[in-house]
Symmetry: C2
Subunit: 208 residues, 2 copies
Amino acid sequence: MSARAQGSKKRTRIQVQNEQRIMDAALEVFSTYGYRGSTVDQIAQRAGLSKPNLLYYYAKKQDIYVAVLEHTLSDWLQPLTKLDPEGEPAEQLWNYIECKLELSRSAPKASRLFANEMLHGAHNIEPYLRGELKSLVEEKCGVIQVWIDAGKLKPIAPVHLLFMIWATTQHYADFDAQIKALCQDKREECFGKASTTLKTIFLDGLLP
Amino acid sequence: MSARAQGSKKRTRIQVQNEQRIMDAALEVFSTYGYRGSTVDQIAQRAGLSKPNLLYYYAKKQDIYVAVLEHTLSDWLQPLTKLDPEGEPAEQLWNYIECKLELSRSAPKASRLFANEMLHGAHNIEPYLRGELKSLVEEKCGVIQVWIDAGKLKPIAPVHLLFMIWATTQHYADFDAQIKALCQDKREECFGKASTTLKTIFLDGLLP
DNA sequence: TCAGTTTCTGACCTTTCGGTCAAAATAAAA
DNA sequence: TTTTATTTTGACCGAAAGGTCAGAAACTGA
């Protein structure tokens, strides 16, 4: 019987270890080459397993892909949950932006994995988009709207503010190749300048 | 002799027509499925040609890909060239932002094609990135820096401002799936709200 | 009309890749 | 130790995909 088909049964030590290895390898490979560009052999090799052995844990290529997507989705969601309605808008939003930028720096592969999935229609995470993510976004847009109504923020469309934050921060992971080509700064310095520029523009705007 | 190998020789009517068809089909297919996810057969079918016939015009799959990339690169570059040092910064930048947003609306496939290429390391457009694009970006960053030095803009890192503009505008093409899932507005309304939100945040900032 | 060129096609080749399977090897339980 | 369950492997399969090629068809210019 294949390892994953066992369902609720307790997981073996070996099972846990190998599944972790597979997830790591899959994130590496899928984020670099995309779904179709990645081969099961590649992932198996990176995980230190033979192909049939890998297929013993995840019966199909797509199963690996969906697993690694789900595996990283929760990390992606978390920062937004921390947006606190009680806090000061400027501080709360800046916290969130910084946190997302830091994620782009520390976990660019996860970012690229999602970006790739989005780019190709997001068919494998539709339920997540229209479920978990959507309700969280609606909740937090409510919070932002309250801040606007209280006169603490300019009147903008909350969801588009979120889009802007996502776009600007994830850009540093997703378009890394372009940034490397255009920005001669070292990584740390580049992210530093990005951070201060984002802060100025989001909070103060460009005009003096 | 294959059509493309003829080099400088004058192009036939049929050649021009079929190459155009191929470029259209290739943009459609590559932008939807990515490089590895697309098949030569698919492109041929969409172009209304048989596979060997398509391969008569472009000998290899990668040749088609590079051709369609180059074909759309110039359109992508153009808006930035119009950034006028003589004009008012706010107006010039807003023009540029609007123009890029409009491109995301009217040519989302081109945007997704680039995004995909970037995401996977941009190996096919490296020379473009480090050549044409880089020198244009340096020139325009110079312009922005002059505006800053003249006290007409807040002191931000010019290149990161460009990154922000690219990120926020292209997001609406590249992450279309996510936007469709989270934004119940009709397309036109969505882009309208995006536009006003971008204007407020870039020019005025979030805080009242 | 006819020779020469360009365009197009069907059949075919080769490689890659996702996936299967029977059986061997290893670990765990009794 | 013996039995049972889990894990691993090599050999293999079929489908898909990139690419080739000889020659047929269509177009072009004289």
